[in-house]
Subunit: 149 residues, 4 copies
């Protein structure tokens, strides 16, 4: 499967990425970039971009890039953990994000995602750990016992 | 200031909490509970609730409860870090969350937030660290140098 | 294999646990407790117990308990991540630790470890994520490519 | 105060750094490097370098460098959190570590520490958050209420 372009991926965008307004810019094997216009709907009550937005953007970029790399082998990518540090608020303009791959093991991939403002000041840093699993396990990301439901 | 009720807080809801559809249930000094109906707009492409949603809900509960407790002293609450582990997917029904205060220091508060599904199975765990700062510092959560802009 | 007692495990103690002086107290399936006498050799330059000691104790307890539970099935336990928050210093007396299992999936276990002082005040909180892998993978905890060496 | 050299700092080494055998190599304002010979006493039972060692080394480097930078202003540096991901085991040779400063705010500094083996393969990644506080607060890193004892 040829890797889809950012444009193709944006056109197929749905779920939370669409709700937030995430726009992919470049989707490479070890780096992914994106941006998100700041608006009231992504803020917390004090008028700053909500911390969950930084976490969500990082999770999206790391998951997508890992998934694109492993799906051809019958695997899928499932988030294990997301650890975000908040350094500087953004109140207007655009939230930019760059995900960089730090490690690609057989079962675990690790990404760092830097979020920055229009002046290129780092505003949040996220470390995302993604599990690579056979695609049949997709509905049970933790490998836990199957749902009783 | 008397602590507002969950009902009053839900009525004033805006920003990301409103976009996601977060509903506060109980807002106490050391525990806060909330819920969020699962719908397509909060999922990732594979049909599971997006990891960023767990992080966002946890951040909202911990920040709100800390802020309510310190605002009367002229302080504000600003997120320092959010560390979420994903344990089990949710694909339908309701996402429930319970935030429990672990530590309330003079400058740092720590919360654990447990997200669970309709069968009370733990789906994600978040540790949120909140800084307590004088309210005048609100626009500079990290205490960094003032923006040049 | 019958689960060894804390006494048997302490007698077999070696490596970092021995260097630090860790003493196991109770080793159960979902809870493990231990203690560590505070001495100069485990402090940082300002005279407080070094942050790495809290991380190390938590890692030991979570890894040991997971390993004991899975080794009978031909599996091993390998640490994936360790996230410690420091809340209050300890300068003398004894460091106590209690590990509580939060999640035991097929491939991932999650533990919370609380470190506390002689007055039962919480001093550090650690979340430890342990991977469960077939024992033959032991030398490659991350599932990464085999060493070229 | 002129910044002491790595040699001077190694000569004054005590506490956990001495117990582990940490050797500082370069101590700069925004980067610090060090190394640690691998020996049985820093391993876990399976013969790999213990996860707590990576956390401890990272904590030492980040704390030291922050402290050196702020002590001249009457401040001190106290660890807030340490989040380590384990990527590849080390069983022999030397553990190398490089700490890089990501953020230096008025009250919070953030460092990334990369641990690698003799073949320069990344073995662990740690994010360390350090609080900068007036030196008189030294004994109460979390700003919590003073001990009743």
């Amino acid at each position: 499967m040829p890797t889809p372009t950012a444009q193709q991926l944006n056109a197929a965008r749905r779920g939370l990425d669409g709700l937030l307004g995430l726009e992919l810019l470049e989707v490479g094997e070890s780096e992914v970039s994106a941006r998100l216009p700041v608006r009231e709907e992504i803020k917390q009550p004090a008028g700053l971009v909500h911390g969950g937005v930084y976490a969500a953007v990082a999770e999206s970029l790391a998951s997508l890039a890992t998934w694109l790399a492993v799906v051809g082998d019958g695997n899928t990518a499932v988030g294990l953990s997301n650890s975000t540090s908040f350094l500087r608020p953004i109140t207007e303009g655009t939230l930019h994000a760059l995900a960089t791959r730090l490690h690609c093991g057989r079962t675990t991939w690790v990404w760092d995602v830097r979020a920055f403002d229009d002046q290129d000041r780092t505003c949040a840093l996220t470390r995302v750990t993604i599990a690579v699993r056979p695609a049949r396990d997709q509905a049970r990301p933790d490998g836990g016992p199957p749902s009783a439901a």
